[in-house]
């Protein structure tokens, strides 16, 4: 910096201080006398400011990089949701039983929607299939987010979008469809609006069926195109498909048979189950009354009940073959051992046990064929309680089932040490213990399969499971012969005969407990059977609950239902007939089993 110029210019037009003869601008008073340090100071401050900027730049570029990078990313990076679908449920032949499809939930900002013209709101209410008053009620809210309707299918969404109403938006979600509807629902179950399993296999296999949505980071350009893929943030997991053991065709046959039976016999409910003898697969499981899983608005507990798996009941006479089998197995009786059932009743510790008729002297085969209570009790009395209890336990009665079905009932078999003589006698013909229909069907495996029992499966089985031997093949064959004699004109299950096939089985009738007592007027009729007898393929168990017509016993309500089911099922499965008998003889007054 230079000092102010003090050169005098005579030609200057500056005013002159006449008195001193000096130009004004040259006046020493005006001379600025700045100290040297000030200029250095300015220089220093400027330098320091630049240095500070440089340091800041280095700091942001090199050291504290995160903050700005994060801010930058949030301006150009986007997280994209990668959807994952819930797995499908298929039947053994690959037919779809449950499948998820994308739908939309319609939501609204009430304030904005109410500003649109009334005819548009009317159109919206029509598209949502919702009375306009209801729609307006939903919109009459202080909230800024209101669901108008969830799970709306895509074609309707397209029309709603065409209306272009302000404040209406949609959110992606999935809806579960059940094409087989009420026929299959007790087995498949259903999911709730959040796509979470609530019943049946949907609940049991929630973890594998469930899809987990993933996400990924991308850079989007001005036009919304993805410019760069930054990779997976979270890998999506698609739900896995589930193949059940059920056969849609057999299921339909079982369902129609049981539905017809409930209507024909004026019953409260009915259930049927079909098992594959070789693999232990559950091929059909039908319940009536039922419900439509696609529309559960009027669902009642009665409809929801799964009478095959979660209900237990006293098995009645269907347990007799088990009692007899144990007697045969332990060598205490032979098929032709004779028992005297006269005079048609007997007394155990003061309590009377009776048969419907006096069957007189009968062989063991006769006891099964005529379903004699007295005969069964007499056989049981030869067997110690402990052995009987072990038998029940081995065939799964009273044991927590491991079929992989939610809510499967264990039934009830009390410890043998607490059995009183009369109670043990009652158990010989199926009273005083309870089982589920599925447990009962499974226990007949020992007859259908040469004496061993295998675990049941609701999923398709690829290889035959290894069985646990309970009785010898010889005993199994002997009992099979007896079971076949039951399904003959002389047996209690004459109505279970099927043209062209040899069927074996046992009827049962149990009195229901009403208000804590056995009721004569309210029965449950059962039939558990095996067919065809030459080469067992299916085990079928049928239950008809509280038939209120003229016919009430297992032999008259459950047996014909089972016959209907057997004939359709064997034909549907292309099983060659093993009997040349094509005309069925049913006696005019069929033999009824005792209760």
């Amino acid at each position: 910096m230079t000092r102010p110029n003090q050169r005098a210019t005579p030609r200057s037009n500056a005013r002159v201080a006449a008195s001193k003869g000096m130009a004004f601008t040259k006046s020493p008073v005006l001379a600025v006398r700045l100290p040297d340090w000030r200029s250095r100071m300015v220089l220093f401050v400027l330098f320091a400011a630049f240095a500070a900027l440089a340091v800041r730049a280095v700091w942001l570029q090199g050291v504290s990089t995160q903050f700005l990078q994060k801010q930058g990313k949030s301006r150009y990076e986007r997280t994209l949701e990668l959807p994952a679908t819930r797995g499908r449920i298929l039947d053994r032949n690959g037919a779809v039983l449950a499948s998820s499809l994308p739908v939309r939930a319609v939501w609204a900002i009430p304030e904005d929607v109410l500003k649109s013209p009334p005819e548009k709101i009317r159109d919206l209410s029509r598209l949502l299939e919702m009375p306009e008053a209801d729609l307006r009620k939903k919109l009459d809210s202080d909230r800024t987010f209101v669901y108008l309707k969830r799970q709306v299918e895509m074609p309707i969404i397209a029309e709603i979008e065409k209306l272009k109403i302000d404040g209406i938006d949609t959110r992606k979600e999935y809806k579960r469809f059940y094409p087989q509807g009420e026929v299959m629902t007790h087995l498949v179950g259903f999911t709730n609006v959040e796509d979470k399993g609530q019943e049946g296999m949907e609940l049991q296999h929630q973890k594998t069926l469930m899809g987990v949505a993933g996400s990924r980071r991308v850079i989007k350009d001005r036009l919304g195109h993805i410019a760069e893929d930054l990779g997976m943030f979270r890998e999506p997991h698609q739900g896995r498909d589930l193949t059940l053991s059920v056969d849609s065709k057999l299921q339909y046959i079982a369902f129609t048979s049981i539905k017809n039976a409930v209507e024909k016999f004026n019953a409260k409910a009915g259930a049927a189950v079909v098992l594959d003898v070789h693999t232990g697969e559950v091929l059909a499981l039908a319940n009536y009354p039922t419900y439509n899983p696609n529309d559960r608005s009027k669902l009642t507990g009665e409809q929801l009940r799964n009478r095959v798996i979660t209900d237990t009941f006293e098995p009645g006479s269907t347990i007799k073959p088990i009692t007899i089998a144990l007697g045969l197995e332990t060598g205490r009786i032979k098929p032709d051992t004779v028992f005297d059932n006269n005079p048609g009743y007997m007394t155990v510790t003061g309590k009377r046990i009776r048969d419907t008729h006096n069957y007189g002297v009968q062989t063991v085969s006769g006891i099964i064929q005529k379903s004699s209570n007295i005969g069964a009790v007499k056989v049981a009395q030869m067997i110690p309680e402990q052995e009987m209890w072990e038998m029940y336990t081995k065939i799964g009665y009273g044991q927590a089932p491991r079929y992989g079905f939610p809510g499967a009932a264990a039934g009830r078999v009390r410890p043998y040490k607490t059995w009183k003589p009369i109670e043990y006698a009652n158990m010989a013909f199926g009273h005083g213990l309870s089982v589920s229909l599925l447990q009962m069907a499974r226990s007949y495996m020992i007859f259908a399969r040469n004496g061993d029992i295998i675990p049941l499966s609701f999923l398709k089985v690829d290889e035959e499971p290894v069985g646990q031997q309970i009785i010898s093949p010889k005993t199994a064959a002997q009992v099979r012969t007896m079971l076949e004699s039951v399904v003959s004109p002389e047996g209690t299950a004459s109505k279970a005969q099927v043209a062209g096939y040899r069927i074996g089985g046992k009827t049962g009738t149990a009195e229901k407990i009403v208000n804590g007592r056995y009721s004569r007027a309210n029965n449950i009729g059962y039939f558990a059977g095996i067919g065809p007898m030459s080469k067992p393929r299916f085990i079928i168990a049928v239950m008809v609950d509280d038939p209120s017509g003229a016919l009430r016993t297992g032999g008259s309500v459950a047996a014909p239902t089972a016959a209907d089911l057997f004939s359709s099922a064997l034909r549907a499965a292309s099983v060659p007939p093993d009997s040349s008998i094509t005309d069925i003889i049913i006696p005019e007054v069929p033999l009824e089993e005792s209760m």
Partner: protein
């Protein structure tokens, strides 16, 4: 000599830079195409699921029986009017 080398390297550099620009451009376009096709694949998956569902709905045993009985006047088969052929039999 030195000048020629410099010129050559400079030209090479510019060429590389331009090819990088081109490659980026191509990559971006391919990515957009890939995205579009993936979207299409997802849509086709959904359509496939929908069609399988439709097949299952239309192939419902109940519907088949109904049509067979009413429209086609079919009735149930009985063993009495069935001829069974045994394989290998004379």
């Amino acid at each position: 000599m030195s000048f020629k080398l410099n010129a050559l390297l400079a030209a090479l550099l510019v060429g590389c830079a331009l090819s990088v620009v081109n490659a980026r451009y191509q990559a971006r376009h391919l990515l957009i195409e890939l995205e579009r096709l993936q979207q299409h694949a997802r849509q086709l998956d959904i359509d496939w699921a929908q069609l399988q569902l439709d097949q299952s709905t239309l192939g419902k045993n109940e519907r088949i029986e109904e049509i067979a009985r009413t429209n086609l006047n079919m009735s149930r088969l009985s063993p009495a009017r069935t001829q069974y052929l045994t394989e290998g039999a004379p």
